[in-house]
Subunit: 606 residues, 2 copies
């Protein structure tokens, strides 16, 4: 009998951990044609419970990968937030209803709740045609980044060595594999092995609030059971999160006496269980009744808010998702932050692996996402404290009022639509005034334009898919006006010149140019637009109402703060965030923007 030799292999990107953060990255990289592998220590994907809330911005992100249809088909939508407080007789009573999402720019003004296993299945099914599946159960046992500067400087070097151990190897196969990867992503959760291997500390602290969570199909006379309800009762707080089908999740505030072992002073899971959680719920819901026949999932947690001190080692090994930040689940941010982390990182790695960009863009991942995590933690501290506080009553004048709580609830942080990335090589706000309301460093505001050739309405975000290309939006002004059209032609000549960014940095492989005319729908001819600004008849849009108005098309120039006589060129990053804006006469600033991090293309597809 021979002992099988350890396998050796190379890969562009190795992802460790197949939760939402890892799968999001794996799918994005697989779709981008990057050679990617993903391993996980669990023998199968999660079947119940865990994270389940998808924020409005993440619906937009999933849509950019073609995944929102399925999410919306399978998930539950939360449109309504309801608030209960103690009534005169001590039982709870409704003190108000409010929209669950008030951000005016949210394209989908609601949260979606869907079991984490269904979210993971969505990614798995999407990347299967690319030949990528999760290898499991597999754990990493060694992680080494090259110490050789020349190796680290070469973006194509396999600078990271990882030893993988197969926990359930096939008969006769080695249980060890040595993988040499160009880049590694640790998406291995709050107890991240990768983070620990890199010696990255978590900064922050634990609170004393202990909560229980239980998933049930309720039998109740409570009239708001299908809405996101925040209950502040004299018996503790509760948040109701309705889910797919008839399922409902209850977050229940627990008293130390319920769960803490008096001898050890630590939370004792054995002291609690779903039946006991339902007893807590019964007290909280009084005078309404709530019962359940069975419990689909339950857990306990202590709120802690912490952020990793670094998000990467040498821009070769990255961490994302829960490996970088932990916080309370009730603000509904866990899975969202994870998906947004990986969405931010994946296209940057793809550009570097393809040789389009130099490695400097990888530094923006930590810059952009760690800042976000810190903001999130600050919000979460405030929100969690307010939720865990007693309600204001005649006896407790320091308690939280309905109005204070609702103000925090609707603060707008949780929708994700306002995420703002600071200036960097990828975010240049010098000419913000030329598109004053299309904030550079934020995602492109949803807006319906009509397609000039056939007057079909399109949401602009649907023309900005996550296909790894930069989208160049030429706000051309009134192309049915001869003088304006002459300006546009001059601009087109500059963009299309041999020294222009388009030909220099990769042409149509790298850039998708869309033209947005402000001509009227009666007068526009899409054929007037210079060829480089309309590679296909579908590439010319119009800022006008529909022929027979049904959508909110029209008014896009005003919404974006762009002058119709002046026009503007807007560069949108592959992740839908605005990178740079320039007036026609400052086209060189766009060329300089790309020159700072892109490599001159050997060949250009026009």
């Amino acid at each position: 009998m021979t002992v099988p030799q350890a396998k050796e292999s190379t890969v562009d990107v190795l992802i460790i951990g197949a939760g939402p953060a890892g799968l999001m990255a794996a799918n994005a990289l697989a779709k981008a044609g990057v050679h990617v592998r993903i391993v996980d220590q669990r023998p199968a994907k999660v079947a119940a419970g865990q994270a389940d809330g998808i924020q409005p911005r993440v619906i937009e992100v999933l849509q950019s990968y073609g995944l929102a249809d399925r999410l919306l088909r399978e998930g539950n939508q939360m449109h309504l937030a309801t608030f209960y407080n103690p009534g005169p007789d001590g039982g709870i009573e409704r003190t108000g209803r409010a929209p669950d999402v008030t951000a005016p720019s949210a394209r989908w003004p609601f949260y979606v709740t869907l079991h984490q296993g269904s979210i993971e299945a969505m990614f798995l099914d999407s990347m299967a045609p690319e030949g990528v599946t999760v290898e499991r159960p597999v754990i990493p046992t060694l992680l080494e980044v090259s110490k050789d500067e020349s190796v680290l400087k070469d973006p194509q070097s396999h600078a990271v060595k990882v030893v993988l151990k197969y926990l359930d190897p096939e008969q006769g196969q080695a249980d060890i594999e040595i993988v040499r990867a160009k880049y590694v992503l640790g998406a291995d959760g709050a107890h991240s092995w990768v983070r620990k291997a890199l010696g990255i500390a978590m900064e922050g602290e634990q609170t004393n609030y202990i909560w229980g969570v239980v998933d049930i199909i309720p039998d109740t006379d409570f009239p708001d059971i299908r809405t996101r309800t925040s209950i502040h009762s004299l018996n503790g707080s509760c948040m109701i999160v309705p889910r797919e089908g008839d399922m409902v999740r209850l977050y229940l505030q627990l008293m130390d006496a319920d769960v803490v072992n008096p001898e050890t002073g630590r939370v004792d899971r054995d002291k609690m269980g779903p039946e006991k959680l339902m007893k807590v719920a019964s007290k909280t819901f009084h005078p309404y009744s709530i019962r359940a026949e069975e419990y689909h999932w339950w857990t306990l947690y202590i709120i802690g808010q912490r952020v990793a001190a670094q998000y990467s080692a040498h821009e070769r090994v990255f961490i994302s998702g829960d490996a970088c930040h932990t916080h309370s689940p009730k603000a509904g941010q866990g899975m969202n932050a994870s998906i947004n982390d990986s969405h931010n990182l994946a296209w940057k790695i793809a550009h570097v692996v393809r040789g389009w960009s130099d490695m400097s863009i990888l530094k923006t991942y930590e810059l952009e996402r760690r800042k976000f995590a810190q903001d999130l933690i600050n919000f979460d501290k405030m929100f969690a404290a307010m939720f865990s506080s007693k309600p204001r009553t005649a006896q407790n004048k320091d308690g939280v009022t309905h109005e204070e709580f609702i103000a925090a609830f609707q603060g707008g942080f949780t929708t994700g639509v306002g995420i703002h990335y600071s200036p960097s090589v990828l975010v240049n706000a010098d000419h913000q005034a030329h598109a004053s309301k299309l904030v550079i460093g934020e995602r492109v505001l949803p807006q319906t334009f009509i397609r000039a050739a056939d007057m079909r309405p399109y949401e602009i975000q649907d023309l900005l898919p996550a296909d790894t290309r930069y989208k160049v939006l030429v706000f051309a002004g009134d192309t049915s006006d001869a003088a304006q059209l002459a300006r546009v032609r001059t601009l087109a000549a500059a963009v299309g010149s041999p020294s222009g960014f388009f030909k220099t940095y990769g042409g149509a492989d790298v850039f998708d140019i869309l033209t947005i005319s402000s001509a009227s729908k009666e007068k526009v001819n899409y054929t007037d637009v210079p060829p480089i600004f309309r590679s296909h008849w579908s590439k010319v849009l119009l800022d006008d109402t529909e022929m027979y108005p049904r959508t909110d098309a029209g008014g896009g120039y005003e919404k974006y703060g762009i002058d119709k006589t002046e026009g503007a060129v807007v560069v949108v990053r592959p992740d839908q965030y605005v990178g740079i804006v320039a007036p026609f006469e400052k086209l060189d600033d766009i060329t300089d923007y790309f020159a700072a991090f892109m490599k001159v293309a050997a060949q250009t597809v026009l």
Copy 2:
């Protein structure tokens, strides 16, 4: 060697012909659990050309079968109609643009163009999980309806004998099968064998207008090539129909000299071809150029408008689609009329086969659909004549003006949303005044309501799927008002009584009850609604704006002409057409409506 014996079999419904009419019926019956078979003489489904325009109403119909998503994903949308007429120099010039669909109630205000093969694939994929596939190539050789009155009166008798011949039988298999069917549908096209076997005449006449059709990917400087364009030129007329991908269909008016054989006086297909059609197009398009590298499909046709004298024999054998009516393709009605025919018929057959209804409802098929076909033919005569006429010029003062043409074009007939079925056992307009704008005999007007339990907006049509159930819409008024709620409870008691229609005619198997409250979103409790009016938390709707208004929800009572203090009960047929309306106090009229054609259920699912 033994000669294989002819097979003998029985089936509920045998469909002959697997074009859109046959497949629509097969899918609907298969989904309804009816034992159905479908045969076709062609060895494979169509691969190119043929009918391709889907009207707004048919998008709604397909949505009710869960098929609209795919249609909208794959198809092209026509939002814009453009009109060209001769300019001062004799070449064509644009004289106007208009919405392609102006019907305010169209839920999808555009036409979809998609290759007939893709439409057929949609039905094939939908019914495959039900175990129904097209048997081909197979032709019928004999059709006999029983002459025994007692057999004909028994809805469950296999009263029709059909002999099928397999054109390509498997080795050792008989090439003949004797099928005894309860019902037969002839969906075998304009030259219908079934129609001829029944001896049904086509009434109407042929015109002299000869047209050519060609599908191309155009190379052109014509700025309206992606819109539905009607060209009246001095060199003949043309209609452009843009299609999926970059394909465009041209309908070109031909001169007799182009296509008629002078010796025989008949159209000679050999005289014409796609290259010649493109030469005709070049003259028509002048001063614009139009060329094509290749031709995907082409044909010639002479406009004829004819309707079958009968649509059925003894309500045992039916014909639908082109077997019943032929007309010009340019009004875009062929496939639409076919789909609507089968949509009208399928649920009625399902109800009779299940023993829910007696056979009298089958008579309404001819009543409803033949009347429609006659209206269609009258419209088509006018429209085709106008399209084939010369444009009005200084020299031709009898020609058609742009204004005359556009008035006919936008007449609203072609969208299908205004199809009206006359009074019958299924259409009772006695109490029309109680829902004055929800026209009895027409499809339910699209309207967004919000779901009371979670405030999620729903288009009402999406709650009226083609699941063969009657939908009972209880417009309950303000259920947060105690006096009104008392009236609703009285109504609920009557509906739920042992002699009420609900329990008498099949309960939840047959009826889906939805309640629409006019309470405000701040005050409503869905739990107030009596249990029989909310079999699930999702069954209570609200006529109010959204929490954070994004859709056009709200104002439904006004739109439907229903008084909020009085309320109304609206019965919607399984095909989304309004059957009867009654005020609360006239509930007996609804019971009488069902009593006229329904059978008392042996068992009732509540």
